[in-house]
Symmetry: C2
Subunit: 129 residues, 2 copies
């Protein structure tokens, strides 16, 4: 397999968070990026507002790096207007801008039972210690 | 041990989230409350804004139920102004309103390595399946 063949199958991961004014807010997201980086598969943080890059910028960056498939994980607990209204519109724009790229949307982190179980276990440890 | 002795040791847990306009936003928090409820130790959801009860209302409710110690877990990923400025002020008010109650603040969920590892594992599964 040549380098170009390998690049043709590159699959990117984008961790999509809300964003905030305080740069320290992003620390858990940076830790998540570190935990998910391995090999040469790109992992990029992207934010809805107040921080950069935007989702569109992160997708364009991964496409430029050679990704032909990108999975976006919303790192949100609840699914309110940001995930039900804002994210679908952003996703439509990304897909329209890159029609040959497979852009997949995962369920939100807060919908994942294994994540909720880890949080619940932490809450009980916090109470009982 | 009498009923009043038992009540004297009741230790409540409050899961503190941001809140949102869409009531469906709270679903993961309701699931977390279910996962952490066991025995007769109260578990209450509380919100910074847009949803009720407030943190002060939740603390008052647990004190009325007989809790003498309350642990508050911030169910937030990042630590921006909400956790660095708003929550300490709310906490001060709760402690002033209930000076005989031990009100403890846990670290935020997004600072907990086991939670971040569960999220990272979910992200990688989402990408690789």
């Amino acid at each position: 397999m040549s380098v170009s063949d390998s690049a043709a199958f590159m699959h990117g991961l984008i961790l999509f968070g809300h964003g905030a004014r305080d740069p320290r807010w992003a620390e858990p997201f940076e830790r998540l990026a570190t935990l998910t980086r391995a090999g040469n598969a790109p992992v990029t943080l992207a934010y809805l507002e107040l921080m950069t890059p935007s989702l569109g910028e992160a997708v364009t960056e991964q496409v430029s790096a050679g990704c032909t498939r990108i999975t976006i994980v919303p790192v949100f607990f609840g699914r309110g207007a940001h995930l039900r209204r804002d994210l679908p519109a952003l996703l439509d724009a990304c897909r329209a801008a890159h029609p040959t790229i497979e852009i997949r949307l995962a369920t939100a982190v807060g919908e994942e039972e294994s994540v909720l179980q880890a949080i619940a276990a932490f809450c009980l440890r916090a109470r009982d210690t």
